[in-house]
Chain length 339, copies 2
């Protein structure tokens, strides 16, 4: 049984294991500081595919294939796949995953999708609903720009608060056993809306959701930031991270800033790569999770971390209609056996 | 613990209960044969709202509010909400559910969403991850036409195989206890693609997915269609239902046809309402489930039914790119205590 604590925190007794993980990215990501850690790099953003959407599906397919290979399991061993992405109707995941023939549960959490997949997957594994579950998500700069903003050919100017959608996918194999890393707890996010309407400032829209989830988790578990080796957020970028510090410091969590890293600030070299406020997209925190974070946990450099992925739940329709940008953040506690 | 059978069937020992349910629809649905059963009817398809998207969110909000009321529980009692819809980035659900303040897990299964929500919710309730969970989905004819086909003002001609998107929402409160109806089993669908590319013939695209899931469930449980009082599919319509009979009869399930009803054929009077092949949309099977099906189970007219919702996992982008329409179908076995 899964134990519930307080306002939405789940404790996993058996700690569902991350038995394999992989990340596949594009050229710009490979030019960043995590270059050496990716499992596969596509230097052409469309590769062998006709469309950017098909190229995004390929990123998912390859990340899942390599994660399975590293876990020593086959697609046929998976009881369920949890997948989602930013494209309309999550077609990156549909076309990415359909070849595997695994029972499929599509998830939509925008850029929080990787955390949502792992959270739902952990519930399925802990409850016996799945022995093994595959989690995967992706984003693609060119597909996202065309869908959310402008086709690249227009050469639109970006605002300083804008973020750069990561071309990349991350995938984890969850399992009852295997590997050195387990998911020991999770907090399901609530939709938080502080009336931010600037679609070029996602960090500001998402920071309040991250603050809400982090504070609920710390309150539910009676812990404080200093109880964790490191706390990673998904893609708040420079602007959102600063806002998160403000929100948490106001509530008395002054020790948060020193323990925090944002995946949107880890994946690129902001000084040199012209990504403005940092990286974003479902593939951003998924790629950083499946390289640096899980890598550091596996080799014992980290033992006990929090991973909070945030998502902005807007569409171009609601933005065009002048609506605000509601956001959500899901949290996972990841622990290594090296502790 | 949840027991797994064969290729993706889950058995719920404690039979998570449907403690409350409600359906809210538009005028056309109210003019159909289920008129007397809906909890609330909006005779103006935009009602008090500025946009069709906001009107769709209102349908969800009202369906959830009434389902909660009927269950005797409050939003604050819910540990989790599972919601999704057909609008880009599922904004009908985001804006519909954000006011409730309940931890939120967005689902994307296109028109299979209601079954997916209940399946995931049942796993959460059975495992202890949630004591109570809210499930909700919707569709809106005007919002869907503009997004998937043409703005209504164009007056586009519809093909004979096309279906009419239901303006409606359905919501269920799942709980450890309460009510006369439980979810005793479920089968997670796989993505099935038989290369149908006609976006005006969703029934044909979805029938193979329904056949795949139904056959896996019957095989896993060692049962046959005659073991169930009634078998309901989501929105295959006239064309998809006939194709489903063909597919199942070829595999030896000749007794399926006589036990089957399709929600897309139950919600409208096809002779009089000009809906061509029948109803469709997430709100179609959700509305029929939360009126006729659960109503018949509650009053003992049915005891033991299968509910299979199908979803076509396309986007206008993939259709425009000439891609096929992959589909998925999730199955639930619903049983009443009157048996």
């Amino acid at each position: 049984m899964i134990k519930r604590l307080g306002a939405g925190t789940l404790m996993f007794e058996s700690r569902p294991r991350i038995a394999g993980y992989a990340s596949v990215v594009g050229r710009k990501e490979a030019e960043g500081p995590l270059c050496e850690l990716f499992d596969k790099i596509y230097f052409d953003s469309r590769g062998e595919d006709d469309t950017y959407e098909a190229a995004e599906s390929r990123l998912q397919r390859e990340a899942a294939r390599i994660a399975l290979e590293k876990s020593g399991l086959r697609a046929a061993d998976m009881d369920c796949v949890f997948a989602g992405d930013l494209l309309n109707q999550c077609v990156g995941s549909t076309f990415g995953m359909m070849g595997f023939g695994v029972p499929y549960l599509g998830q939509y959490g925008a850029c929080s999708t990787m955390a949502q997949n792992l959270l739902a997957g952990a519930v399925f594994v802990e409850s016996g609903a799945a022995r093994h579950a595959l989690c995967v998500t992706s984003s693609h700069f060119c597909a996202a720009e065309r869908q959310y903003r402008f086709p690249l050919e227009y050469g639109a100017v970006r605002t300083p608060t804008s973020q750069w959608t990561v071309t990349g996918a991350g995938s984890c194999v969850l399992s009852e056993s295997g590997g050195d890393i387990g998911i020991s707890a999770a907090t399901v996010g609530r939709i938080v809306d502080l009336s931010v309407t600037d679609a070029n400032n996602m960090g500001a829209a998402m920071a309040p959701a991250a603050a809400d989830t982090i504070m609920r988790f710390l309150h539910d578990t009676g812990t404080s930031p200093r109880d964790y080796d490191r706390i990673f957020t998904g893609d708040l970028g420079m602007v959102g991270s600063e806002l998160l510090y403000d929100l948490l410091e106001r509530e008395g969590f002054a020790d948060f800033r020193g323990r925090h890293d944002d995946c949107g600030l880890l994946i690129y070299n902001r000084e040199e790569q012209d990504v403005h406020a940092g990286g974003s997209g479902c593939g951003c925190c998924a790629s950083v999770l499946c390289t640096r974070i899980l890598g550091d946990l596996a080799r014992g450099a980290l033992h006990n971390v929090l991973f909070i992925a945030t998502g902005a739940l807007l569409s171009t329709t609601t933005s065009g209609q002048g609506k605000s940008i509601p956001a959500v953040a899901h949290l996972l506690r990841l622990q290594s056996d090296h502790a």
